[in-house]
């Protein structure tokens, strides 16, 4: 009995040593935790990787009189692949380069589809790095991390913005695993949110089968949001004869059906939208008839956005909505699943029916 108890004690003690993860134990002070990584093109086959680290000398009292550009320090390497950049940056810093806390990857718009696919694939292969990092696109050669007074170090502006679902009129946040998933799945073009300035992120960057990404206009991005149920709160202005009506908090539920018709992928979308009235012209009495007109105008505005988005897809031969993917899930065509036919296979033909409702109005006239 006593021997058995001893065996149990020995087992528990050895377990706690063996399985505590102490094999790779390293104090936090000896790690350099990169919070963001930016990738821009440096040469035809080389990229500039910039790792952003929170400045360890910042304290709560010093943060108010610290210049914003000193909140983070950077380390840069020009390399043909992520793994090589990792090694070069590691040789420049005095602590262990650690990517376990990475929050954002900033991708410049001059990277082609093949570049981004290789980057995402390499990142996704590393077993222990977080797959929940946000991806964001910026104009060519401006892969900089926005640092401003809103979010002092160690909070990263992009992370804070994308974490806040209601901060985005269209929910554009894209996590790494989702983009990797889109790269691996036939019938969908990967999309990444794009900021024309670092703090104005309201468009999408769409990756075609090959070449550089296309950037949607704001209207096309709105259409994408309506068609893929990513709309959080749009605002639409409707012009009546006597003035402007503003409808805000516009959200929708879209249900789509796909079928192949005469070489096109025919998409039938049913959209049920709703919104609240925010502005109403003084001189117009709010009657049922006028409200119906406003609802109809709102529906028309949504239709225009959706058609613009589908026209964008047909023009650029991409499918940012994943309509083709949803069709292929049920009707897998083995010959279409190779590398060449990734992305758009059939032109899209959209039939959209929008019902708009304004159920709540706080004013009478």
């Amino acid at each position: 009995m006593r021997r058995r108890r001893w065996a149990a004690v020995m087992l528990i003690v050895s377990l706690s040593w063996l399985l505590a993860g102490c094999w790779d134990q390293l104090p936090m002070a000896n790690r350099a935790s990169a919070l963001a990584l930016s990738v821009t093109k440096a040469a035809p086959h080389a990229f500039r990787f910039t790792f952003y680290f929170p400045n360890p000398t910042v304290t709560v009292s010093s943060i108010s009189n610290l210049a914003t550009e000193r909140e983070f320090y950077t380390s840069t390497a020009v390399a043909p692949a992520l793994g090589l950049a990792y090694r070069r940056v590691q040789s420049q810093i005095t602590r262990d380069l650690y990517l376990g806390q990475l929050e954002d990857i900033i991708i410049s718009a001059d990277l082609t589809t093949a570049d981004v696919a290789a980057l995402i694939n390499a990142y996704n292969r590393m077993g222990v790095v977080p797959k929940m990092v946000y991806l964001v696109g910026t104009p060519n050669n401006r892969g900089t991390l926005p640092v401003n007074l809103q979010e002092p170090v160690p909070t990263v502006y992009f992370t804070k913005y994308f974490d806040c679902r209601t901060c985005q009129p269209v929910f554009l946040a894209r996590r790494e695993w989702k983009v990797w998933d889109a790269f691996e799945t036939p019938g969908v073009s990967p999309v990444i949110p794009y900021g024309i300035t670092p703090t104005r992120i309201d468009r999408l960057m769409v990756y075609p089968h090959r070449g550089r990404p296309y950037i949607m206009t704001r209207q096309e991005t709105l259409g994408w949001g309506f068609l893929t149920n990513h709309m959080v709160k749009d605002t639409v202005g409707v012009r009546l004869a006597n003035g402007l009506v503003v409808v805000n908090n516009v959200t929708d539920v879209a249900v789509t059906h796909m079928a192949i018709e005469a070489g096109h992928l025919a998409v039938a979308a049913e959209i049920l939208a709703r919104g609240d009235i925010a502005g109403w012209p003084e001189s117009v009495p709010l009657t049922n008839a006028v409200l119906k007109i406003v609802e109809r105008q709102l529906a028309r505005a949504i239709i225009r956005d959706c058609l613009a988005a589908v026209n964008f897809a047909n023009r650029t031969k991409t499918d940012p909505f994943g309509f083709t993917r949803d069709y292929l899930f049920r009707h897998p065509a083995q010959d279409l699943r190779d590398e060449k036919s990734r992305g758009m296979i059939w032109p899209l033909k959209l039939t959209v029916r929008v019902v708009a409702r304004i159920p709540i109005t706080g004013v009478t006239s």
């Binding site: 065996a7 149990a8 087992l11 377990l15 063996l18 399985l19 993860g21 094999w23 790779d24 077993g127 222990v128 977080p130 797959k131 929940m132 974490d163 996590r175 695993w177 989702k178 990797w180 998933d181 691996e184 799945t185 036939p186 993917r325 949803d326 899930f329 049920r330 009707h331 897998p332 699943r337």
Partner: protein, 374 residues
């Protein structure tokens, strides 16, 4: 052996039979099937679960007809030469081979996701030692451990799985495809069987349960298989609906990947999905424990002397630990281990079970009739 065979309750039987299948290799599910069948993988899941239910019913019938303490003694009664010298060694070897590969792959998965610097031998050996520690006890002690831990494992599993639900985005991928293909279906049915291979543990366990009616034995065994089938179905749906069949087939451990996406910034630590390693480690430990327990008990049941039987049992469990440890060295990489499992061991194991179990059932029925007549 009298102390060993203290009867257990039908509820304990349910948990023990449940953990002796699926629990070990659950982390490998459903990549292989989906990579071959896409959204049609649901058909092979249904088929394999149905076969598992049918075979477990046959095993219960054999055990109730024969009423011998273990599988090995049942075999020596039914077929004095072929039984103990051919059927038992082959069944045990196939079961141990599946256990070995499942354990090796588990160590590799833990290394690639959670413990990159911990030597693989440490992970495997610790699991084996804890499993052996449970397996050397009596039947009722093993049953109590399983009865205590398995519901906790299931609850924790439900908790982390609910947390992965917000990532679901491809409900369209859950519907089966418009066409059904026979060859990939057969292929995946053969390759999925490792989840349900239990080395005829049901025959060993059934006689030691205090059944009110024989019917309860059938219902309980079928319920255990169906319950584990439901777990597989839930995991299939979550993984396919989250990643889609195409991206899923590019990952060796899709479930570990999906659980690594669970991150609650508001919780006091972010990677809540890491709870799943508690679930899987305890599941594979108990799974190995039940298998080793049945193995040791079977081998020792041929000896009449109680002290000697106990010694033989300890020896055979230590032998199983040694064999599984050697397997850790023999299978060098994920690619090799998966190839051996999916292309060789699992198909052979299913072929063997499908031939042997019904045959045993038929023989035991004849034996029973002769017994009644005489």
């Amino acid at each position: 052996m009298s102390g060993m065979a203290e009867p257990i309750s039908p509820g304990q039987f349910l948990w023990v039979v449940g953990i002796s299948v699926v629990a070990g290799g659950i982390y490998l599910w459903p990549q292989y099937v989906v990579s071959l069948m896409g959204s049609n993988a649901i058909y092979s899941l249904i088929t394999t679960t149905a076969i598992a239910m049918g075979l477990s019913l046959a095993e219960v019938a054999v055990a109730l007809n024969m009423q011998r303490p273990t599988f090995l003694t049942t075999l020596s009664m039914l077929m004095p030469v072929i039984g103990p010298y051919v059927i038992f060694p082959v069944t045990a070897t196939l079961c141990l081979a599946i256990d070995a590969i499942v354990l090796v792959l588990y160590g590799l998965m833990m290394q690639s996701y959670f413990y990159p610097y911990t030597p693989r031998l440490v992970i495997d050996l610790v699991i084996l030692l804890v499993a052996a520690w449970v397996a050397v006890r009596t039947l009722s002690a093993v049953a109590r451990s399983v009865q205590f831990w398995f519901p906790i494992i299931l609850l924790l599993f439900v908790f982390v799985t609910v947390l992965t639900l917000p990532h679901i985005s491809y409900l369209a991928a859950l519907k089966p495809q418009s066409h059904f293909y026979v060859i990939p279906w057969l292929h995946t049915v053969f390759a999925t069987w490792f989840l349900y291979a239990d080395g005829s543990g049901v025959i060993t366990l059934t006689p030691h349960v205090a059944w009110k009616r024989p019917r309860d034995a059938y219902v309980t065994a079928a319920a255990a298989m169906l319950g584990q089938g439901t777990v597989l179905l839930v995991l299939y749906m979550v993984s396919v609906a989250t990643l889609g069949p195409d991206a899923l087939s590019h990952l060796y451990w899709p479930l570990a990947y999906i659980y690594s996406l669970v991150s609650l910034r508001s919780f006091f630590f972010e990677g809540v999905g890491a709870f799943v390693i508690i679930v899987w480690t305890s599941a594979i430990t108990l799974y190995l424990a039940v298998h080793m327990f049945c193995f040791g008990w079977n081998l020792s049941s041929v000896v009449k002397n109680a002290a000697r039987a106990h010694g033989l049992r300890l020896l055979s469990i230590s032998g199983a630990v040694a064999l599984l440890t050697v397997a850790t060295f023999l299978l060098p990489s994920i690619v090799v281990a998966r190839d051996v499992l999916f292309r060789w061991v699992t198909p052979i194991s299913l072929g063997w079970a499908v031939v042997i179990q019904p045959w045993l059932w038929w023989r035991s029925r004849q034996w029973r009739r002769e017994e009644v007549q005489s």
